[in-house]
Subunit: 226 residues, 2 copies
């Protein structure tokens, strides 16, 4: 199937991209610049990963989100909380309906370039605090996209029931270079090691029993799961 991949430059979407290259004909890859504190760190890795292939990569400017939306993930928002990714405190980093917006834009782009599917890397660990990562959202969104496009575009969500450590293991199988991915919400020079998404990243390698190539500011003990 001809597909368009959503690729942020994070671990999950990078693995999903390389996985899709084996299963589908990938005709486009989209990243979104929406004014987050870490877009300038993750998008270059999306570019690096797609540049390993001949797939056209587009960076979509959604600067209005940074100006009009309310989230601590944005440069316009407050400080990024530290702790476990599934903590309720991490809710302040949710960008309202972000996946809905990304999928809708990808659907229009896919229809324009003649694709029949989209690939999004939402996974089980996202479900706790992100309503737009759960299957209860994904199923009607997929139906809306199938009904609202002439091509009846399908939303493929290969990792929707996977744990992050399973995605890491799949990435290692595919020889994904995880040093060329970015997770940290702080968007500093190197990964902070303390924010929710750094903790999730460290934990995934640790649980998978696989080497973590990431340089962290803080390699201290991981906080317990909530």
């Amino acid at each position: 199937m001809k597909v368009v991949c959503l690729i942020s430059g994070g671990m999950d979407s990078v693995v999903a991209f390389h996985d899709a290259l084996r299963t589908h004909e990938v005709v486009g890859a989209l990243s979104f610049d929406y004014g987050s504190k870490h877009n300038h760190r993750e998008i270059p890795f999306a570019r690096w990963q797609t540049a390993l292939t001949t797939v056209p990569h587009q960076v979509i400017d959604l600067g209005f989100i940074g100006h009009l939306f309310d989230s601590d993930l944005l440069k316009s928002g407050g400080a990024i909380p530290e702790g476990h990714y599934e903590e309720v405190t991490m809710k302040s980093t949710v960008v309202p309906f972000r996946n809905g917006i990304f999928l809708a834009i990808a659907a229009g782009y896919a229809e324009s370039v003649g694709a029949q599917g989209l690939v999004i890397a939402a996974h089980a660990g996202d479900h706790a605090i992100y309503p737009d990562c759960r299957e209860t959202f994904m199923a009607p969104m997929a139906a809306a996209i199938a009904q609202g496009t002439y091509a009846g575009i399908q939303v493929l969500r290969p990792f929707i029931d996977w744990r992050k450590e399973e995605i890491v293991a799949r990435g290692l199988q595919l020889k994904v270079d995880f040093a060329q991915t970015w997770s940290c919400y702080q968007g500093g020079e190197i990964h902070c090691g303390r924010c929710g998404t750094c903790v999730e990243r460290r934990e995934a390698f640790w649980i998978a029993g696989l080497p973590d190539p990431t340089l962290y500011e803080d390699n201290g003990p991981l906080p317990p799961k909530p």
Copy 2:
């Protein structure tokens, strides 16, 4: 209910906006600049209509659509076809998944400003060629937005079963100044009178038996419905 209105500056969304002012607490109005041939004509009317009120009006820049999507409605596309709005030739003016993109962005904005609902003016006449105006799209999209937001945001579609002449009649009741609205896809100095949306506009006033304040380049006979 606190609602955000989608307002293009066309007749339908302008009437829906003034209708919503009577029924809801309108906390925001959104227009989208997506590189169409007529955005520069219609958005000033959206601004004019919202400026009659204290509702904040935001124009969202979606310039990437003009560069990456395929549609004759866009400045990057081919000529606008003439004839009836419901003709199959008008399909070339469909911007893929446009309403899905607009609704998704409006959902994120609504969650950010504390609204519980969105108002979109899709109507029965849109159904023929626009898959993302039909209730088969709207129902799952509404479910995705309800499930994908903390507030469980509702998509209100007051005109979904209305014919355009009924919207005109409702606008007259509400004393809407239709001279301060724009339909023509050509985006010229005045309405062309020949493109699908001009034909639909002229026909709506004619069927409703109400005066049409619009200045058209061509006032010749209306083409028959397909």
